[in-house]
């Protein structure tokens, strides 16, 4: 318990939805609807799910870009919503982010020196030579030549831009980096470079990652623990080995089966029909029941929301059909 760096408890975010400027608004969009997990020091926790499952909204709340409707986020045991002034600055220093698209996350009019140097100037008051030296150091850390500090983003390829974004995130020696689909915009050969870099940095600097991804192969490669979200809810959470070796929730199984395996001898698994349900009017009971392959016409799945239970040690899921192991 002691090394819980970040703890998220019953987190929810409802957006005002529907309607137009005449009506007072339709039903709320329940983007995130009660999600709990924690990130330990030095580990990678992955949040997995399809578009609209709320994984990015969770990340935004952790980065204080959205205010939670309900629930709490604590960092090193302290409630983040209570941070003001210096405490808030300190939190923003320790939690950084790398986003999906390195084309829109870097200001095209700023030199690399200023992009990476800005947080150093603002938080640590570095100037002149010291600033340049620190930026050069950071560029070397991410495998770029320090001379490129005077370049502008357009002079770099996608992979190099993502390296710059990582250098910026590292500038203030953070403890947690939120990685929101960090390689999905990159070419295959460049993905490996960035993933290896992230793994090396984590080992060398003792970083924690919150990895947001839809790619289950990358998640298996990168993470220590995995949480699966579906329409605003967490449906399964386990250590990596447990998750990939002993998947419990039918949605997790469907996700795993849907990934085309790069081996012609492994046929494609049976996947599920239908589409991700809408967070505006989520299905009653278990939100997955409309697509669930093991859902039977029991009123249970349709009417009663399944409890979030620990089935095995450190392996939680929300499904009526999964029986807890006999202890």
């Amino acid at each position: 318990m002691a090394n819980r760096l970040l703890e998220v408890e019953g987190l929810a975010k409802h957006f005002r939805g529907g309607g137009n400027w005449l009506t007072s608004g339709g039903d709320a969009i329940r983007a995130v609807d009660g999600v709990s997990f924690h990130v330990e020091a030095g580990e990678t926790f992955a949040l997995v799910g399809e578009s609209g499952c709320g994984k990015t909204t969770v990340a935004k709340m952790i980065l204080l870009l959205e205010r939670p409707t309900r629930g709490s986020i604590s960092f090193q045991g302290q409630d983040v919503s209570g941070f003001r002034g210096g405490g808030l600055r300190e939190y923003k220093r320790m939690v950084q982010a790398v986003f999906q698209d390195p084309y829109s996350s870097l200001n095209p009019r700023m030199q690399v020196l200023d992009i990476i140097g800005e947080p150093l100037r603002v938080h640590q008051g570095l100037r002149g030579r010291t600033l340049r030296m620190r930026v050069g150091e950071l560029l070397e850390n991410v495998g770029l030549n320090p001379v490129t500090a005077s370049f502008f983003p357009h002079q770099f390829s996608g992979g190099q831009r993502q390296r710059i974004a990582i250098a910026r995130a590292l500038a203030l020696r953070p403890q947690l980096i939120v990685l929101d689909e960090p390689v999905s915009g990159l070419d295959v050969s460049i993905r490996a470079q960035i993933l290896n870099l992230l793994v090396d940095l984590q080992r060398d600097l003792g970083l924690s990652y919150l990895l947001i991804s839809h790619d289950l192969a990358i998640v298996e490669h990168m993470s220590h623990r995995v949480g699966v979200m579906y329409v605003g809810k967490m449906v399964e959470l386990a250590t990596r080995d447990e998750f990939y070796g002993n998947t419990l929730h039918p949605y997790s199984n469907a996700l795993l089966a849907s990934v085309p395996k790069p081996d012609p001898d492994i046929p494609m698994g049976t996947t599920i029909g239908g589409e991700v349900a809408s967070p505006i009017n989520p299905p009653s009971g278990c939100r997955f029941h409309t697509r669930c392959p093991i859902y039977l016409e029991t009123s249970m799945c349709r009417e009663v929301e399944p409890d979030w239970r620990e089935i095995l040690s450190e392996h939680l899921t929300a499904c009526h059909k999964v029986e807890p192991a006999v202890v």
Partner: protein, 331 residues
């Protein structure tokens, strides 16, 4: 699924295709001497990173290269017994959308927002099959049913914004399939789809392919899709096919260092590695393709010879081949 006896039923044969972009002070060789065949009912993958020329190859096949700017400068594209580069634009229209169709990456931009789905799917039917009224309508309904769109009669009158991404991609597929083309070109049609929706779409295309014997060219960078969907694969690098072979063969024994590196650099589910194999450097920049084999600056096994001369085609039996000095010298 694999068609062994392919010599006699070749649908498409591309020979020495070159498509260049002409810029003010540079010529970008987007496609630089590509040759391959597609047999009837066969699914062929074109794999490569951005800038490898896979999309430009497909646009060349459809004779849809961006004008002005790009031009097919050389080569032959034989569709059965007709060279598509010899016929007039008017004659080409009989192929495009009729005998060969393309599904693009982004269903958002391949549908017109101001026409209903029914009108758009009916367009190739009216144009190519000259069908009207109830007859055309039935064909459209059949196409929408074939791509498993629920309640097609009601969906017909709706507009693209009323469809989800996965449904829109199905509509685009339906447009491509109404005329029952002999060749379907799928240019990364699933990149914008979620995994479960992608799996549905892949299954659908495979079923349609089996039912109607359509040949498919899959353009993708996803080696999983190639493994699941294709009989053969052509690996492209810097505008050329560097290796071509049957999928099983290539995944088991890749010959070209680039193919090997591609296969080793993707994380595989169930096969954990401490470190991913890393291809250093950047994908080739078409403005400055290195002399010799364009892969040599990134190749761990590059020799002096590689920097001087592009390796010749080394046959690996049947239609399989590779362009690499290592294999050429080794035999």
């Amino acid at each position: 699924m694999v068609n062994q006896n392919i010599e006699d039923d070749i649908l498409l044969r591309v020979e020495g295709l070159k498509t260049y972009f002409f810029q003010r002070n540079a010529v970008l060789k987007a496609v630089d001497g590509v040759s391959f065949t597609v047999a009837q009912g066969e699914a062929v993958g074109l794999v490569g990173e951005s800038g490898s020329g896979k999309t430009m190859t497909c646009l060349s096949l459809m004779r849809l290269v961006p004008q002005p700017g790009a031009r097919i400068v050389e080569g032959e594209i034989w569709f059965k017994d007709e060279n598509l580069l010899d016929i007039t634009e008017h004659e080409m229209r009989a192929y495009r959308g009729h005998r060969m169709a393309i599904i693009m990456q982004d269903p958002q931009t391949s549908l017109n927002p101001v026409y209903s789905i029914g009108e758009q799917v009916a367009e190739p039917v009216r144009l190519h099959l000259k069908e009207r009224g109830q007859q055309a309508m039935n064909r459209v309904l059949d196409a929408l049913r074939a791509v498993r769109i629920p309640r097609p009669e009601q969906r017909l009158v709706q507009y693209p914004h009323q469809f989800s991404g996965g449904m829109r991609q199905r509509v685009v597929a339906a447009m491509g399939l109404t005329t029952q083309p002999e060749l379907l070109i799928a240019d990364e049609p699933t990149t914008s789809l979620d995994v479960t929706i992608q799996a549905q779409f892949l299954r659908l295309i495979r079923e349609l392919q089996q039912d109607s014997g359509t040949s498919v060219i899959w353009v993708t960078h996803d080696l999983g899709i190639v493994a699941q969907m294709c009989d053969r694969v052509n690996v492209m690098y810097a505008g050329r096919i560097v290796e071509s072979g049957r999928v099983r063969q290539i995944y088991k024994e890749p010959q070209h260092p680039y193919t090997r590196a591609l296969l080793d650099s993707v994380p595989l589910m169930g096969a954990r590695r401490d470190k991913l194999y890393q291809i250093d450097g950047q994908p080739p920049d078409l403005r400055s393709i290195p002399q010799g084999c364009p892969f040599w600056p990134r190749c761990p096994e590059a020799m002096d010879k590689c920097k001087e001369q592009y390796p010749p085609r080394t046959s690996l039996g049947g239609q399989d081949f590779v362009h690499c000095w290592l294999t050429e010298e080794g035999r």
